[in-house]
């Protein structure tokens, strides 16, 4: 048996190159479009016209995605969620970069690890609205592969021509952040040579009416960290990244995972889980909190999340760390939020631009000096992304512009 590379749980882990990255969300398609929207403070949120029954809320919808051409070879996988994934794969040169990796490593040595909260359930909902008299799904939706949580991973693997390990992580809002941790472990143990990580979630009745039933939706565009914030705006989107042991960077320096052990739909009152995830990510990267130049916050604009997250950031980070929520641009894309915000964090490092916070008019007094409304052009060497989810699942990712010495 071959010897395994070994590293303890508290020790540092080898950084991974994020050799390619892409995203599609309400704020734009591709990194350049999203960066322009962030700089120009153009929101992707619009009044909800998605649901058949009216629901007074704002949503981050990717316009036109349902009407675009769909490749015949992937016909079986067609649904809104996979359309978002396909749009992201076809953006930012991502498919070509994966094809190069495939020729380097072989299709069987590239893992696919993706996160989603509801996968293609929108297609299942549609089938229930159009059931045949005998209770069968309508013929065009009799495609078992899309009516499961694994739809996105199966689709991504086939669309990219990959044949390695494929896994779907479904831990609500932390899903597509935790994929980086999962992939890092697979690469550390040599179970794959590269990994396509990412996620997608699409607007659907389950989440719109589900979050409405929990009284968590705002009737206005969400206002993260505003003292008058009154709930979230749901969004949709997809994003992917290619991770390798060697490459051009930027670099995944660390990840930290934890649970709140508190409540299914409400965060721990002292942010115990959030704090632990941040500390673990820093420890794994071997960095002090002061090394973090920018934090892309979870910042959903739910009353509790923002209060607790702001307190934790104010306590753990120095005043010079910049922190903001970009959900005012994208809405909360749930299982896709992790990857969208990881890619935005990587874009911040690349562009040397810390995005601000949109829609908030003032900052809640609980916020420390880290919280910023306006974006800032500034030098960023290290940045992190927070994902704190429903069901108390937390994940923090730490990225660096340069490979640490």
């Amino acid at each position: 048996m071959a010897a395994l590379p070994s590293h303890g749980g508290s020790g540092r882990t080898a950084p991974l190159s994020v050799s390619a990255a892409t995203l599609v969300c309400a704020a734009g398609r591709g990194r350049a479009a999203v960066l322009a929207a962030l700089r120009e403070r153009r929101t992707g949120l619009a009044r909800n016209a998605f649901t058949s029954v009216p629901l007074e809320t704002w949503i981050g919808r990717v316009p036109g995605i349902e009407a675009e051409p769909w490749p015949h070879s992937l016909a079986e996988w067609e649904c809104r969620n996979n359309r978002l994934a396909w749009a992201a794969l076809c953006t930012d040169d991502f498919r070509a970069r994966v094809a190069q990796a495939r020729s380097r490593y072989g299709a069987g040595r590239i893992a696919v690890v993706v996160g989603t909260s509801t996968a293609s359930v929108g297609a299942t909902e549609e089938a229930y609205c159009r059931l045949e008299p005998d209770g069968q799904f309508p013929p065009d939706l009799r495609r078992p592969v899309i009516h499961t949580p694994h739809s996105l991973a199966g689709f991504t693997q086939q669309a990219l021509g990959l044949e390695g390990f494929a896994l779907t992580i479904a831990t609500a809002c932390s899903s597509s952040a935790k994929v980086f941790a999962e992939a890092a472990r697979l690469l550390a143990l040599g179970l794959a040579d590269a990994a396509v990580v990412g996620g997608a979630d699409s607007l659907c009745g389950s989440v719109l009416f589900g979050f409405h039933s929990l009284a968590l939706l705002s009737a206005q565009p969400c206002r993260p960290f505003d003292p008058g914030r009154d709930g979230i705006s749901l969004g949709e989107g997809a994003g992917f990244a290619l991770l390798e042991r060697e490459g051009p960077g930027p670099w995944l320096l660390g990840y930290g995972e934890s649970s709140d052990a508190h409540h299914m739909s409400s965060p721990h009152p002292e942010g115990l889980g959030a704090r632990r995830a941040i500390e673990r990510a820093l420890a794994r990267a071997g960095l002090p909190a002061g090394a973090v130049d920018y934090i892309n916050l979870h910042g959903t604009a739910s009353h509790k999340n923002d209060e607790i997250e702001a307190r934790v950031v104010a306590e753990l980070f120095p005043a010079r760390t910049r922190a903001s929520s970009t959900k005012g641009w994208t809405g909360h894309a749930l299982g896709a939020a992790g990857i969208l915000e990881a890619v935005i964090t990587l874009m911040a490092l690349e562009a040397q631009f810390a995005p601000g916070t949109l829609n908030a008019r003032t900052l809640d007094p609980v916020c420390g000096p880290q919280l910023m409304l306006a974006g800032e052009e500034r030098s960023l060497a290290c940045a992190s992304s927070h994902s704190f989810g429903f069901g108390g699942s937390n994940c923090v990712l730490l990225f660096g512009r340069e490979r640490p010495a």
């Binding site: 089938a127 229930y128 499961t148 694994h150 390990f165 992580i169 831990t171 409405h212 995972e257 709140d260």
Partner: protein, 280 residues
């Protein structure tokens, strides 16, 4: 096992099984299941009622969905038999399809009266509900992963849990379960009955270990799960997680065995089970 399978270029992972649990209505708990899987007794004739996880407060115990009930039952039993404190174990919760009846409820309600969706049923319908309830009930701040890989879920979850145990050098709780499909959903997704399994996987040998698992990824076309004996397989027939029964049969029989669990259309996890020898 297909003769065409060959090593896929990865090193083997060794983990030690410290506690084992299994629950299905005709094998309600590991002591009963172990005796039946060893051929020492017959399965009970009457199916047992759904487990009532003692971890949950009495009001939640009755209202908990089947996924949560069966997952918490086996998770707790595995930790107890391993002598491990659940609050200190990271966990991996694997389910091919999640809570199918709640999925059916959500889709049916959305089709008729979307504004009347029940908030409790909505938050219980998420794939990480069982894992979320587990960490809340046990006060566990360690991370959990909730995952799916359709018909390859048990193998994928086992690989994920073993990878985490070895790379983080920490014992990991692995739980896998699936329940029965109902309503129009059942025409697309096939799963019957209630079946859950769990084990604690440690990266280190110890006196608590009952067996060692040596896991290795193999490549080849159209791999298949190894089969359990026909008599045992009949007890979980049709459940989406049924393909893992062979692993628990081998653990019960305490004989060395090399088994296959599929990972995809072209990959499988070879699981060599090495029982602990007689304690000196």
């Amino acid at each position: 096992m297909s003769a065409a399978m060959h090593p896929a270029g990865s090193a083997a992972l060794s983990v030690w099984v410290e506690g084992v649990a299994l629950w299905t209505p005709r094998l309600p708990g590991w002591p009963a299941a172990r005796a039946v899987l060893r051929g020492e007794t017959q399965p009970q004739g009457e199916p047992a009622p759904r487990p009532q996880p003692a971890l949950l407060p009495p009001t939640e115990r009755r209202r908990a969905p089947d996924t949560v009930a069966v997952a918490l039952e086996v998770a707790f039993a595995a930790c107890a038999s391993a002598g491990r404190d659940p609050a200190r174990l990271p966990s991996v919760f694997a389910s091919a399809y999640g809570d199918l009846p709640l999925n059916d409820y959500m889709c049916a309600t959305l089709a008729r009266t979307p504004l009347l969706v029940s908030p409790t049923r909505f938050h219980n319908s998420v794939h990480n509900a069982a894992a979320g309830y587990w960490t809340i009930a046990t006060g566990c701040l360690e991370p959990y992963t909730a995952l799916s890989a359709r018909e390859h879920t048990f193998g994928a979850g086992l690989l994920s849990a073993a990878t985490q145990a070895v790379s983080e050098d920490a014992a990991v709780l692995y739980v896998a379960y699936d329940i029965e499909a109902c309503g129009p959903m059942a025409t697309m997704v096939s799963s019957r009955g209630l079946f859950g399994v769990a084990m604690v996987l440690s990266p280190q040998p110890s006196t608590r270990a009952v067996a060692r698992l040596v896991c290795e990824v193999r490549a080849g076309s159209a791999p298949r799960n190894s089969a359990a004996s026909a008599q045992a397989a009949a007890l979980v027939q049709g459940n989406a997680m049924a393909g893992c029964l062979c692993v628990f049969e081998a653990l019960a029989q305490e004989v060395p065995r090399e088994l296959m669990q599929t990972l995809s259309g072209g990959l499988a996890l070879s699981v060599a089970i090495v029982p602990r020898g007689p304690v000196a």
